[in-house]
Symmetry: C2
Subunit: 213 residues, 2 copies
DNA sequence: TAGATTGTTAATCGATTAACAATC
DNA sequence: TAGATTGTTAATCGATTAACAATC
């Protein structure tokens, strides 16, 4: 734990910077100023400079930022150069979609195991990863040492498995369930993806002009 | 547009309130105080009271809030009682998972059409909704009048379709693509779900202790 | 050098928390 | 009534924006 830790707002912007810089690079940009990047991303130049300066001095006065260099730095900050083994719990339609849709490598992960309890699907493969029974968790963990788990299982199953996963060395959860992960271990991270909540905010926006604040 | 519009931070908390109140109701709670709810949700009582007071006075001094009543009010604020027709573009593995995994009705929507360009999947059904060719968009829109579209198509396809969708009456997008929706029409809402960005923040957390701010 | 643009400090804005009078 | 808890105002905290000296 350093002086002051990086704020959540900044962290959430990093992947988006990384994506935009990748596109700029693909479009042949060599340098870019904070002002120009701000315009493209719909941010302010100030915010961009503030964000980057949390991590170092990546620019050059009078010139701006080197696109490829800056992209690499942010990739490094995100830890994308350090591949972490990750497992997926739940091979229902959401789990399957995550397993096949997400480009794990470019996000700093390698999918090393998929688990389910349904004997009908155990043994099937998704991509080149076989679906294991949850009882084989120990074996897979011993071989691959995953540090991260994706939860695409029912809420009750999640509440049962989480402690065991932490015992097996899982230090981060990508949580698609509605189970409210309250981790006592302070060194375990949780990223919640509540798709239903996300959709409900759209319902609000389509029906709003209730209330003022 | 009223005096001051409700802040995004508040809107994002509404679905979570709604979920927790539903659970409390299922567990037999009749009343709850802001203090007790705060404890259960990991918020402060102040924040909860501030949030609710954007929309009205739902509590009673000395008593707290009626669980069922408050849940109903928040449901109404979210517009869940007003079902909006919604269409899905893209029947790849993510689109399919969304179509079958999400409980649209409880989120204020009804899925009325699924579109793809791949002739191999057109005609198939997901649940009881047939996959139509994107060329049949007009027909389906005329029948069902969807107000919302889910984008599970490639980035380039999204950039092509968005304007046409707005012309056809779409007023909200649930965007799973990396296409950066910049809507000129001020009355169109966008909810971005960048799953890759979400996963990348976990990579950051697993590799961090870079930088301070 | 002159012009541009950073890194960084200061000012502003907004959101969260604390406090308390009103009241059930 | 006395105790509890709201609704709401004021205080605090944090994040965003503006400004500008440093410097490439």
């Amino acid at each position: 734990m350093s002086k002051n830790t990086i704020s959540n707002s900044v962290i959430r912007r990093l992947p988006r910077y990384y994506r935009f810089l990748g596109e700029l690079e693909n479009n042949g940009y060599v340098r870019i100023s904070s002002r120009e990047l701000a315009e493209k991303m719909g941010l302010t130049a100030s915010q961009i400079r503030q964000d980057f300066n949390c991590f170092g001095e990546f620019g050059q006065q009078g010139y701006g930022y080197n696109v490829a260099g800056l992209k690499m730095e942010i990739g490094r900050i995100l830890g994308l150069d350090n591949i972490t083994p990750i497992i997926l719990l739940g091979a229902g339609n959401l789990g399957r979609a995550i397993a096949s849709h997400i480009d794990f490598t470019s996000k700093g992960f390698e999918l090393v195991g998929i688990f389910d309890t349904n004997p009908a699907v155990v043994g099937e493969k998704i991509g080149d990863i076989p679906i294991s029974h949850i009882d084989d968790l120990d074996t897979v963990c011993k071989i691959h040492n995953p540090q991260c788990a994706i939860l695409c299982i029912p809420k009750e199953a999640a509440s049962r498995e989480v402690d065991r996963l932490i015992d097996k060395g899982i230090r981060a959860f990508w949580n698609f369930t509605h189970y409210d992960l309250r981790i006592n271990h302070s060194d375990v991270s949780v990223e919640n993806v509540h798709l239903g909540d996300s959709l409900a905010t759209l319902s609000y926006r389509l029906n709003s002009d209730k209330g003022t604040c």
